[in-house]
Point group: C2
Chain length 182, copies 2
């Protein structure tokens, strides 16, 4: 079994994703992690500490993801869109959980978010060589993530492989159009 700290953070994520920020109370997180409230407070002295820890986890996961994106043999654009469907990966989960907090107006969550979005856009621009194409590709991926953020909680958002392949061909088309755009 994972350490209590990890389990608590996982539970925090879970509840944020499934039930929203409001439901993610200290007590419900503790209960979900099978820890007493006192136990939770022992590891995370405040709710803010919980959010900070989630932020660090997210930052680390997204940095690793950008490396994978840059190195993907299929290309960064395809990688970004392909991995934007919600697959319940560690990154997906941390991202959607943080989205819940950001939507709630949480300042640190919003900053985390804005920073990560900017990093991704830069990485796409660097890989694709065009600001506009990078933007279009990022928007498509973001649209996918946006669906995830709404429906990850309840209701499977199944995307067929065939459908995804057709979408990826359109991504190829966008890339091929690059005739020295800014």
């Amino acid at each position: 079994m994972a350490s209590s700290k990890e389990r608590i953070l996982d539970s925090f994520e879970n509840i944020l994703i499934r039930d929203g920020e409001r439901a993610a109370t200290m007590e419900s997180v503790a209960a979900a992690a099978d820890v007493s409230k006192g136990g939770l407070l022992y590891h995370f002295p405040s709710k803010e500490a919980l959010v900070d820890a989630l932020g660090e986890r997210l930052l680390a996961l997204s940095a690793r993801d950008r490396e994978l994106m840059a190195a993907d043999p299929d290309g960064a654009a395809r990688y970004y869109v392909r991995t934007s469907v919600y697959e319940d990966s560690a990154l997906d989960r941390a991202l959607v959980a943080m989205a819940r907090l950001a939507q709630q107006g949480h300042p640190k969550a919003q900053q985390n978010f804005a920073r990560i979005q900017a990093f991704w856009l830069e990485a796409l621009e660097a890989a694709l060589g065009s600001h506009t194409v990078a933007r279009a590709v990022k928007l498509m991926g973001d649209g996918l993530y946006y669906e995830a953020a709404f429906f990850a909680g309840s209701g499977a958002n199944q995307q067929s492989t065939a459908e995804m392949e057709q979408l990826l061909e359109l991504v190829d088309l966008l890339q091929s159009s690059d005739r020295g755009g800014s």
Copy 2:
């Protein structure tokens, strides 16, 4: 001055957009609408009633928007992407406000949302004749909206006209690619 009922609903929207669901308490909504708490409760007997009223407003606005989309001389695809940048229109505001509620796990808000999304996708498919292209176009617009949902509150999300035009040209490209896709 608009009727108290409209003013209350506008204030509810405002606070949801600017400060998130958590901040949209009955008291703060009443204060923003320049009405006492009792006065608010007179018009909307519960918070649920406020959400329902917002849902009706959103449904009406989105239905009107789909008509405009179908009739736009520039084409539905361009219309959808073009109008997806946040411009603080009545529809934008109602949509982002409802998004805040949906993200919070509010069941009715999620249903409202899912229904409207489906309508838009259908409308795009009908206009573009291709499921895949409609999906790609919708994702790009949704990506734009998703940015709006995060940054509409604080921080201008300015999109230059030139940048938008380049994006729209990519939308044209997607449409022109339609070779009898599903």
